[in-house]
């Protein structure tokens, strides 16, 4: 589809919606009222919380942390023992030069990271420390370290049970290891059921958390930075949404990969600016580093001044880590399964670096900057808190942060559009018409997400991302022995020299 035709098609579909939205300001409420009961019910189940003391502990967070801890113990803390091998793989030391031209481990890692690094690292962490105090950082790091093992497990399985299509492309992810892995164990019915549940949740998650939520946050951030309430963009979310939708459409429908390449080149650059600025702030407050770590450690075990004490800090930290690095959700397994490798375990090794970079490095950085800059008691939260913390050293930083938020949102949307697409083709077969309907719907949802304050809809779709963890983690538990077999035979081949080191 040509770009102009695409733009015209989008406009044709969207104009009546927008006109209606403009004419009837009550449309948000109408939709909210219609969706709220269903949304509240489902979100209520997914985020079902048990009250511990004065704080609510969402069971889904416990579910993800438990999975991460069990994987860690089951594989004897592969995330620490195997990290050197991970780095060697990423550096291409085990890559056969004759395979040049295939996707490298570095490329797989970079692409998967671009899907997880985003708002969670900037806004989510700020929420965690503003509610859970500095101590939340400690629990966040701990959860990030455990999450490395569940990432390892799911990505190994993703490659192990992927399907090679007739045209040479590859489809993989939890849908495939649930259906194929369970079939091998003689439980094909259960496997197919779990796979179908996963696929449905994945489509919901892609449209919601991976799209509407991102568009919504990007639009808000643009409005905030251009003057808040008085901004030209304050009531023009639809305009921002439309621009975003056209750009997203050009990439996913129009096949204009160059746009994705441009953003994906800027995103690492943004991440570097972010981390560098963070380090500058931390080191310019060098006298406070010891104090900050003291706050983090003592906060973690005393929970001083935090609602719910130690448990309050712990829950905030765990929640943020789980929300940010997506370990146990199953999304990364879709991305990694497409890589061409003879040994499934190699993708597991590479993938275990993701929670480390995402949570242990970038999230911790944000938390430290907030603590060290002394903005924690300012009463702010979310992006505004992070923004204020960085602004103490660099007054121009909020603008950079706004650009970063928009770009992160964009790259997350592109990545999740792919996850949703894979789930769609799993359910409906590889069919161009179905794919294009999905992609067009995805673009329309960008505008809807950016223009409307559909709280319940976003809650609902966000809960779908975490619903993915239910079938996925069941799959991980059942297939743990398969991963161990793969790991053992791989390590034997490494030891015997059958797998050669080339550089």
């Amino acid at each position: 589809m040509s770009i102009t035709k695409l733009g015209a098609a989008l406009m044709a579909v969207l104009t009546p919606i927008l006109a209606h939205a403009q004419a009837a300001p009550g449309i948000d409420e109408t939709i909210n009222a219609a969706v709220a009961p269903v949304s509240n019910f489902i979100a209520g189940i997914i985020f079902y919380s048990i009250p511990i003391g004065d704080v609510a502990f969402p069971l889904i967070v416990g579910w993800l942390i438990a999975a991460a801890a069990i994987c860690s113990f089951y594989f004897g803390f592969i995330q620490f023992r195997g990290v050197k091998h991970s780095l060697d793989l990423v550096r291409g030391r085990y890559s056969d030069p004759n395979d040049a031209g295939e996707v490298s481990h570095f490329q797989a890692l970079a692409t998967a990271l671009s899907a997880t690094v985003g708002l969670g690292n900037i806004a989510g962490v700020a929420v965690a420390v503003s509610i859970g105090g500095p101590g939340a950082t400690f629990w966040m790091i701990l959860a990030g370290l455990f999450g490395m093992a569940s990432k390892f497990t799911e990505c190994t399985l993703g490659v192990k049970f992927r399907r090679e299509n007739a045209d040479g492309t590859i489809s993989g992810g939890p849908m495939y290891y649930l259906s194929r892995g369970f079939a091998e164990m003689g439980k094909p019915g259960l496997g197919r059921a779990l796979a179908a549940i996963f696929a449905v949740c994945c489509i919901g998650g892609a449209i919601g958390g991976g799209n509407m939520f991102q568009a919504n946050q990007a639009a808000q951030q643009i409005a905030n930075v251009t003057g808040g309430e008085a901004s030209f963009f304050a009531d023009k979310g639809w305009l921002i949404g439309l621009v975003l939708a056209v750009v997203v459409g050009m990439v996913i429908l129009g096949g204009l990969k160059s746009i994705a390449h441009v953003t994906e080149k800027i995103v690492p650059f943004m991440a570097i600016i972010y981390v560098t600025a963070g380090l500058v702030i931390i080191f310019s407050n060098a006298d406070k580093i010891g104090w900050a770590f003291g706050q983090i450690i003592s906060g973690a075990f005393t929970g001083e001044g935090v609602a719910g004490g130690v448990l309050g800090a712990l829950i905030q930290g765990f929640k943020r880590a789980a929300f940010s690095n997506e370990a146990g959700i199953g999304s990364a397994a879709i991305a990694h399964s497409a890589v061409r490798t003879k040994e499934p375990v190699t993708e597991g090794y590479v993938a275990l670096l993701e929670p480390f970079i995402d949570t242990v490095v970038i999230c911790t950085m944000t938390a430290l900057v907030i603590v060290v800059s002394g903005t924690l008691d300012s009463g702010l939260t979310g992006v505004e808190l992070t923004s204020a913390a960085f602004a103490t050293a660099f007054p121009w930083f909020p603008i950079v942060l706004a650009v970063a938020v928009v770009l992160f949102a964009f790259s997350t949307m592109i990545s999740w559009s792919y996850y949703g697409l894979k789930a769609t083709t799993y359910l409906f077969g590889e069919n161009k018409t179905v794919e294009n309907i999905y992609k067009l719907f995805f673009c329309i949802c960008v505008v809807i997400g950016a223009s409307m304050s559909l709280g319940p809809v976003i809650d609902f779709s966000d809960s779908m991302i975490f619903a993915m963890a239910i079938p996925n983690v069941i799959g991980l538990y059942m297939l743990l022995p398969v991963v161990r077999r793969e790991l053992v035979q791989y390590q034997a081949k490494l030891a015997s020299g059958e797998i050669k080191r080339f550089f």
């Binding site: 570095f106 692409t111 040479g168 990969k257």
Partner: protein, 143 residues
């Protein structure tokens, strides 16, 4: 004594001139010709998820296309009585050419040049310039 003429060939006009030059010289000296087609590739460039899924399929197509470029000219040179072999590789052209030259001690690299006196392309550096700076064997740049 030169035993092998390593020619960078991608089917473009300058590379055809380089191959003609090398073939003539090799014939005169009774040397072999090694035709090398390097497909530019960096393991650190960014790929979208869809590109990752399609990479293997695309790579196979690219190799077939490159072979279709290289094989006919090799056959033609063979028919002329030359001993010709060929390689299709992925990577940085200069690096790959140097690596191949390293395996053939008594060889010479022959590449073409676009023939522009454009200032920009001089600063950007061309394959010829990179080879002259890094090659382990003599380099001939055919105008």
């Amino acid at each position: 004594m030169i035993k092998t003429y390593i020619v960078g060939y991608d089917g473009t006009k300058p590379s055809q001139r380089a191959l003609e030059f090398a073939a003539k010289a090799a014939k005169g000296r009774g040397a072999d010709v090694l035709v090398v087609h390097v497909l530019e590739w960096s393991p650190y460039s960014f790929l979208t998820m869809e590109e990752i899924a399609e990479r293997h399929k695309l790579r196979e197509k690219e190799v077939i296309r490159a072979r279709a470029e290289v094989d006919p000219v090799c056959e033609k040179l063979c028919a002329d009585g030359l001993k010709v072999s060929s390689e299709v590789r992925y990577g940085d052209p200069a690096e790959i050419m140097c690596e191949i030259a390293g395996k053939h001690p008594e060889s010479i690299i022959v590449v073409g040049r676009k023939g522009t006196s454009n200032l920009a392309s001089r600063f950007m550096g061309t394959l010829g310039i990179s080879l002259i700076q890094a090659s382990p064997v003599p380099v001939t740049v055919v105008p």
